[in-house]
């Protein structure tokens, strides 16, 4: 089955990642997936601005999600919470006790899958800022349509609107040359779904998203290598 933009069901839109766009931040990345684009900046590790947020044993991660226009509302707060937990999972926070690592995400354009795009941008920006990371994380959105086996990876806004259910899933992907290979493990880091799915449909969706996330992570790794050839 072919989609309106010519992709196959399991195909992810063209991905671009530009790094170091912002000069004032410690790290930045612009992640583009088709018509969806997010700009992420990372500041830190730096001094914690509020003593209430300070943690004596690890760095505090703060995420700000700014919509393309208008003020941030409850939905943005939900995104922030999800991205923050994912970032906390990959950052080796114990290296910087009492410090703050702030990730600011700005939606540049939104054509579906903005949460996944933002998460990928955040991860790429953390890499660019040389914040010590355990591993990478990659996120993919998926939609389930009423059509037979209608599982679409990385749906556009139109596809999301027409779908019976949508979901965004982040994984700790299997990295090329990674030490501890757990090939068959799912490594699901975070998930969020909306709409109605059977259990099997959900599991299929997660499995398909995992495949996509592995591809995205490989791309992210490759782009990092290109940006920092000395690191090899």
């Amino acid at each position: 089955m072919e989609r309106t933009d010519g992709r196959s069901a399991g195909q992810i839109r063209t991905v671009r990642c530009e790094r170091g766009l912002l000069t004032r931040a410690d790290g930045s990345a612009q992640w583009t997936q088709g018509g969806t684009c997010c700009l992420a900046s990372v500041t830190g590790p730096t001094q914690c601005y509020a003593s209430s947020k300070e943690d004596a044993e690890r760095a505090t991660v703060d995420v700000v999600f700014r919509p393309r226009s208008g003020l941030a509302g409850a939905l943005e707060r939900q995104y922030e919470a999800l991205i923050r937990r994912a970032c906390e999972a990959v950052i080796v926070a114990a290296l910087h006790p009492r410090a703050l690592i702030q990730v600011v995400l700005q939606v540049v354009s939104d054509d579906g899958g903005v949460l996944a795009c933002a998460l990928n941008a955040a991860c790429a920006a953390l890499l660019d800022a040389a914040v010590p990371l355990r591993t990478l994380c990659a996120a993919v959105s998926a939609a389930h349509t009423e059509d037979e086996g209608g599982l679409l990876l990385d749906p556009t806004a139109a596809e999301e609107a027409a779908a019976a259910a949508t979901g965004t899933f982040a994984f700790l992907p299997l990295l090329a040359g990674g030490g501890d290979s757990k090939g068959d493990e799912l490594q699901l880091l975070s998930s969020q779904t909306r709409g109605r799915l059977t259990t099997d449909q959900l599991l299929d969706m997660i499995e398909a998203a995992k495949q996509g996330a592995d591809r995205l992570a490989a791309f992210m790794q490759q782009s990092a290598r290109q940006a920092a050839p000395l690191a090899q």
Binding site: G73, A74, L75, R77, Q78, E80, A81, L82, R85, A86, E88, A89, G167, F171, L172, E185, L186, Q187, L188, L189, S190, S191, Q192, T193, R194, G195, R196, L197, T198, T199, Q201, L202, L203, I206, E207
Partner: protein, 304 residues
């Protein structure tokens, strides 16, 4: 660090405060939780309907110590031009400052906003807003569901969703009448007005139940040292490696699967969570049905 504890030099309460992780681990290794539950058991749950008389419907839900109070208030409002044949369902979760040591008065906390967003989306798909229309293009019901967390002892999503579901299940939309001049009356006055106007075009509606497309129930599970803990408490939550909230309806369909944490989980865990949520849903729905029957508000009570 636990050496002092091993030597029996500190009492249990001190140990619990100083080494929460070791404390929990010792229990979980024995297949138990600090409150005496087995790992896969949810806490005792109660549903009280009609707790607040100033509401159109209300429900007080306790899951262990976690307490949520949902109050529903219905108002007749002008229909929105973009959706002339639909009313509005507005869901708001408020973490009252008294619910935990970290909530402060003032702006809603992130936790409250995340819950608001999750429950708005979920309940929006359960209540068809078109049934809230009174007179297309003119007036409609606005149903405000305000959920107050009174005691935040973990797994808030489950308690808040159950409170909202119980309140909405027991909701009766008041009778409405509209006279020639467009004046809207509700409640007993409307019922009386309708009696008088019999034979004419029935402007307005009888008292009626709200139709819910399904009964979603959620269960939060946490992953701790490779074991799955159902319905974690506030004490356990910060120690968990990952947490997942699965929301299923009575047919077993998944309406939401929200997971997050500092560790990744495998497929087995996902399946276990869904399975546990399915079982929990059956148990909770039976409880809700019983509560509704006791209050004389069960769905089939209307027929008799």
């Amino acid at each position: 660090m636990a050496a002092a504890a091993a030597a029996g030099q500190v009492d249990a309460d001190t140990f619990r405060r100083l080494y929460p992780d070791d404390y929990l681990r010792k229990f979980v290794e024995q297949g138990l939780r600090p409150d005496g539950r087995p790992l896969a058991a949810a806490r005792p749950t109660s549903i009280g309907l009609g707790a607040v008389s100033t509401t159109d419907a209300s429900a007080l839900v306790k899951v262990g110590s976690t307490t949520a109070l949902a109050g529903v208030k219905c108002e007749v409002v002008p229909a929105l031009p973009e959706a002339p044949d639909a009313g509005r369902l507005v869901v708001q979760v408020e973490m009252a400052p008294l619910c935990s040591a970290t909530t402060r008065p003032g702006r809603p906390s992130e936790g409250a906003q995340v819950l608001t967003e999750q429950l708005s989306a979920l309940l929006g798909s359960v209540v068809d807003a078109r049934q809230l229309c009174i007179d297309a293009g003119k007036v409609a019901w606005a149903v405000y569901v305000d959920i107050y967390v009174l005691d935040a002892d973990g797994s808030l999503h489950d308690a808040c969703l159950l409170a909202a579901l119980a309140a909405l299940s027991s909701l009766r939309l008041r009778a409405v009448s509209i006279d020639e001049s467009g004046r809207v009356q509700t409640g007993a006055a409307a019922a009386a007005a309708q009696q008088q106007q019999q034979g004419e075009r029935p402007a307005g509606q009888q008292e009626r139940r709200l139709a819910l497309s399904c009964q979603p129930v959620s269960l939060t599970c946490g992953l701790y040292r490779g074991r799955l803990l159902a319905d974690p408490t506030a004490e356990e939550e910060p120690l968990l490696e990952a947490q997942a909230t699965a929301t299923l309806d009575e047919s077993g369909a998944v309406l939401g699967f929200a997971a997050g944490g500092t560790a990744a989980v495998g497929q087995i865990v996902v399946v276990q969570c869904l399975e546990a949520a399915k079982m929990r849903g059956k148990e909770v729905r039976a409880m809700l049905q019983q509560a509704l029957e006791q209050a004389g508000l069960a769905a089939d009570a209307d027929a008799s």
